[in-house]
Symmetry: C2
């Protein structure tokens, strides 16, 4: 095949990332082989290595694309709705399991750790901005605990299947209100 549009190239790359993410989420990183990604993507072995230099590069791409959701405001309703969103995503796409896998790999792969740390810092910054003025002095501390507890809810979902979100909603509000 001759030269092809940039959109086409992007689409192909996306196919690979999507296949990899699905497989990482359902089987974990270590138990996903290149052959699995080849099969899942519908492309060939050679094609994959045209778009990614190595398996590790694919992991990083998956991680970079995996933007975490956040509540839109720090109100009880908004937080509760957000937790339900996390719960639904864990149920429907194994997203929680994927996140746990990425975190584990990040503790062992410096390149991935950089990406993950950056994403976590961005999440904390976003939350810190939402902290009500009354507590803006502790905005950073609140954001730290808030984001940590959110990611922990995701982690619990990954390990225990389904977990009621109510205790987490209550705890998050307690953290915000002090």
């Amino acid at each position: 095949m001759p030269k092809v549009s940039q959109e086409h190239l992007d689409a192909r790359r996306q196919q690979i990332v999507d296949a990899a993410r699905a497989r990482f989420a359902s089987h974990g990183f270590a138990r996903t082989s290149m052959a699995d990604i080849v099969d899942g993507s519908g492309l060939s072995n050679g094609a994959i290595y045209r778009y990614f230099k190595s398996k590790d590069e694919i992991v990083i791409a998956v991680c970079e694309q995996g933007t975490e959701a956040l509540p839109t405001a720090l109100t009880a309703e908004s937080v509760a709705a957000f937790l339900e969103h996390v719960r639904a995503r864990a149920r429907d796409t194994d997203h929680a399991r994927l996140v746990v896998q990425i975190y584990a790999e990040a503790t062992v792969s410096p390149a991935l750790a950089v990406v993950v740390q950056g994403q976590l810092a961005a999440l904390r910054a976003t939350i810190a901005e939402m902290v009500p003025p009354r507590r803006s002095q502790q905005a950073d501390e609140i954001a730290e605990a808030f984001v940590a507890l959110c990611s922990s809810y995701s982690q619990q979902l990954a390990m225990r299947g389904d977990v009621d979100s109510a205790p987490y909603a209550a705890a998050l509000m307690a953290i915000i209100e002090g």
Copy 2:
């Protein structure tokens, strides 16, 4: 060598578990080979398989031995001291990294998931008992969030190196006090 005391057998088994834990903590589960455990334990390849049927069995043994610490009371001082203990252990023995590895593996290995779920449930039960009478109605919910946030602090330590424990201490007390 002929028949040998039970203590001797236990000691040998412990050698293997210790070597495996150290390596899992520093390099992760997937990046630890049987050869690594052989070298670290000072035993031979064959000897290891006399004590454990497979690598997965070793992981489970490591997990079963890894009891998590807990605060002795739900007071500000006790909780703060506990978090510092977690922090110190992460720094000195890479324990936080080990936990993250185990959690990730548990999402993918049913046998390990059973062990991990049991341990988490025990931790929640212990915390629930400590909840002050004033809030005993919500003891279970509080314990759920409390344990989750503790394990999240550990997770953050694993991924980000060192993290101040103060925000977590404040958040944990906020959860307890509502």
